[in-house]
Symmetry: C2
Subunit: 167 residues, 2 copies
């Protein structure tokens, strides 16, 4: 699961740079109060951070995804530590396994028509205990990324495996 | 991992309809021969199918993702059984765990500028042995979806878990 944030702040751990992706699309498909505020922040700041939470952060992930930041400072309310991203100043939340710093590519038509926002990935970072030499090593570290389904249901990222072509 | 196809064919198993998603974005980010042909098929047919392969299909998934269909009929070459989707006629490949039939929403600017294609989801289907009552049950069935990383490396979808807010 990728969580989207769009604010600023203080320092966290050591991060390993990853190969950058050129472009990513995020969506605010539901006209909820929560999504609408995040959307306003993304539009106002012109940037956002996509973060990959760990299993240990599942409850926090659900909580921050279920509340609006319009009335509450969710970072303060949940004691969330973070460091500003080098490229955008956006928050790299401590405890996540990876972070993508993105600059909004303004495309008003698709933002309005499809609630779809495009970002140029300008920085990619990962927890070096789970990502080294261009690969994820979740098995060895015991840390796993999570994927949200709905209604409090998640999946962990599972067993890695390799397939050799033609074998 | 979602595999994208854009052709037509013959019958497969019993499918359970799922709640539909309104819109989905797919990308052909690399100007490879393989991606470029699929892109042409999507543009020509105005529709595509996104399918969720199972672990048992990992080798096939890698193979069809590594070859171009321009010179070879990959369905024939690999003996791939499929049934035409009810809404688009696109191929629902047998053995996958889920399928989304999508109609291309023509947006020439973003297709050209970002290699990004939008689809309206007009049909959603799942293998009833892994998806019932609105939920995935991969644990019970022993069938798992897979996620491609790169270079023949995959992850399985892992353990499901539930978080209760405020607990």
């Amino acid at each position: 699961m990728l969580r989207c944030s769009s604010l600023h702040g203080s320092p966290c751990g050591v991060l390993a740079p990853c190969p950058c992706l050129p472009c990513i699309a995020i969506s605010f498909p539901l006209p909820t109060e929560i999504g609408s505020y995040t959307r306003e922040l993304v539009e106002a700041s012109g940037s956002f951070v996509l973060a990959v939470p760990s299993r240990a952060m599942a409850r926090l992930t659900l909580a921050v995804g279920s509340e609006s930041g319009r009335e509450t400072d969710k970072f303060a309310a949940h004691g969330i530590a973070w460091t500003p991203g080098e490229h955008t100043g956006g928050p790299l939340v401590e405890g996540c396994l990876g972070w993508l710093e993105c600059r909004l590519i303004p495309e008003p038509h698709i933002q309005q028509a499809y609630d779809l926002f495009l970002g140029e990935v300008v920085g990619a970072w990962a927890d070096p205990t789970v990502f080294t030499d261009g690969h994820w090593h979740m098995e060895e570290s015991g840390k796993r990324s999570i994927h949200y389904v709905a209604g409090g249901h998640f999946f962990e990222t599972g067993v890695p495996f390799e397939v050799t072509p033609g074998r």
